[in-house]
């Protein structure tokens, strides 16, 4: 199915690049080669214009007020929700706006512990004897909220290990996911390794055990078609700014029945029906989870980003991305002293984490920056995975739909020369 989707042509990528003003910037005397899209993507004019247009012509608080602008703003805000819902194969009522993916995961983790206090469906309450399962390769955002949930409730945190290459140990799924498991939290695509995790296997095991699956889709949503309904996960989160949208807006997807049972995390205005001095009744989802003034222009910007991605076509973006991922991984692998992180022969997005023997990632990043090449260095918010791979830090190059082969090649040449610069080769 993948092989038949045509990649973006060089001309198409050139046209796309014209829509991203920042890509024409010069950095340290070189044309910018932006290979840090997994940290945050650049934004096309369509997104910047959508936010500006809204703020200049229709800005108002949503879901309150009777004036014309308030009505228009509310309509556009809700239309944005529908756009994003359609993009990920969800119903509009299953999409909750958050500030970012991290807030989305915390919303669920706190909701589950709040259920123990009699809010929402008591069947959701997590407590002693219950187990929460994460994986060894998670981003801290999909680890620490679960550690904290376990601490608050007395539940036990368990993890599915990875092998020496960083692949999930599927042979241990049956041991780790049991009838005590209440939550299985996993990332769709590893932000360090770029590999696609076998979500279907975990979903099946989790559902058989009666547990919910929380999917971190931050690194998959920008790269390939995403159908959350088909994946059958119970919760998914992703961030706007990693998929051409603005910062300050993220998305929480939840199956309708689960969202209806889940008590709120943040409480206050806009999420209630009746309030007395003693207590409050909460609205139905998604509003139950959207307390306070909403990030309206950002949601509208994210909808513009989704329309932009749709217009290019996610299957074609995915084909382009896979090609760049292979070029990155194969190119790096051919450089003496480079260890490409992650198992080989599995599906990979346009992202490669690596280690260059004898050169600390920060020094490598500095040399690349000197040539206008932006990559990520450090532990990428995944310290346990780095420890497991025997590293303190690593370097990561990540692509997006606007990335060219030429940028990848400039990057590969610079990595090769960095080894010479630091004198780690005789």
């Amino acid at each position: 199915m993948h092989a038949t989707t045509p990649e973006l042509t060089d001309d198409e990528v050139r046209t796309i690049r014209g829509d991203f003003p920042i890509l024409a910037e010069t950095v340290n005397g070189h044309p910018l080669a932006y290979l840090d899209s997994a940290a945050t993507t650049q934004k096309p004019r369509a997104v910047l214009d959508a936010e500006r247009e809204f703020l200049e012509r229709r800005n108002a608080a949503v879901h309150r007020g009777a004036h014309t602008l308030a009505a228009e703003a509310t309509e556009e805000f809700e239309a944005a929700r529908a756009t994003v819902a359609a993009f990920v194969g969800a119903d509009v009522g299953e999409i909750v706006w958050t500030s970012n993916a991290t807030e989305g995961i915390n919303l669920v983790a706190y909701g589950l512990s709040n259920a123990a206090f009699g809010d929402g469906d008591p069947a959701l309450a997590v407590g002693p004897g219950d187990e929460i399962v994460v994986t060894e390769l998670e981003h801290h955002a999909n680890l620490i909220p679960w550690q904290q949930l376990a601490r608050r409730t007395g539940a036990t945190l368990r993890y599915l290990p990875v092998d020496d290459d960083g692949a999930l140990r599927l042979d241990l799924v049956g041991e780790v996911i049991t009838d005590r498991t209440r939550v299985v939290a996993v990332s769709h695509v590893s932000n360090v390794l770029g590999i696609v995790n076998p979500v279907a296997v975990l979903v099946e095991a989790a559902h058989r055990a009666g547990a919910i699956v929380v999917l971190d889709a931050c690194q998959s949503a920008p790269h390939a078609p995403l159908d959350l309904g088909e994946l059958d996960v119970d919760i998914a989160v992703f961030s706007g700014h990693k998929m051409l949208g603005p910062t300050g807006v993220g998305v929480l997807y939840g199956k309708r029945t689960l969202l209806e049972a889940l008590p709120p995390f943040l409480t206050g205005g806009s999420m209630i029906t009746t309030v007395t001095l003693d207590r409050a009744e909460f609205m139905a989802p998604p509003q139950r989870f959207e307390a306070g003034t909403q990030r309206v222009s950002q949601a509208i910007g994210l909808a513009a980003a989704v329309r932009y991605l749709d217009a290019v076509g996610m299957p074609r973006i995915a084909a382009h991305d896979r090609q760049l991922g292979a070029r990155l991984a194969e190119g790096l692998d051919a450089i003496r002293g480079v260890r490409v992180l992650g198992p080989v022969g599995v599906e990979r997005v346009g992202l490669a984490g690596f280690d260059l023997a004898g050169v600390h990632p920060h020094d490598l990043g500095q040399v690349l920056d000197d040539r206008g090449i932006a990559i990520r260095v450090g532990h990428h918010c995944a310290q346990p995975l780095h420890r497991r791979l025997g590293l303190g830090a690593s370097a990561r190059a990540s692509a997006a739909l606007y990335t060219t082969d030429d940028e990848v090649d400039r990057f590969l040449d610079a990595v090769d020369e960095a080894a010479g610069f630091f004198g780690v080769r005789s």
Partner: protein, 145 residues
């Protein structure tokens, strides 16, 4: 191939010290010890100082990090072994001021010897912490001594 800016940051003396640093491997007999982490990059240093009669007799350390942080720890060892505690504190403060000056204040050779090579780091705000790590850790180790 590399620009002059990059050569000014990674001077030969830094690369040499990073490859083969002095003072690595903590030696017994220390009187003060501290551990610091740079949470942004995960760099770590565990540094032990031996003080006798107000004079620093030994500085040894263990840790990992970038070339700047490793060279900085190495240069610090050679520079401040034999210095009085008061003198070391003063030079740590001068070092901090220069490193935070965004290239405005240079390190002078009289006080800093070969460690003047670290002065180039002050123009790279994101790397100042790398150069400072060992110095801050020594300051904390002296406080426990």
């Amino acid at each position: 191939m590399s620009s002059d800016d990059l050569r000014a940051l990674y001077q030969e003396v830094i690369l040499t010290h990073a490859r083969d640093p002095d003072g690595r491997g903590i030696v017994d007999g220390w009187t003060g010890r501290a551990r610091e982490v740079n949470p942004l990059c995960g760099d770590e240093i565990d540094l032990a100082v031996g003080v006798e009669g107000g004079v620093i007799r030994s500085i040894t350390w263990e840790g990992h990090g970038c070339a700047i942080s490793q060279a900085s720890a190495s240069l610090l060892t050679g520079l401040l072994e034999g210095a009085t505690v008061a003198d070391a504190r003063e030079r740590i403060e001068l070092f901090r001021t220069a490193l935070r000056s965004r290239g405005e204040i240079e390190l002078d050779e009289e006080h800093f010897g070969d460690a003047v090579a670290l002065g180039g780091v002050s123009r790279y705000v994101a790397r100042v912490k790398c150069a400072m790590l060992a110095w801050v850790t020594l300051e904390n180790a002296l406080a426990t001594s």
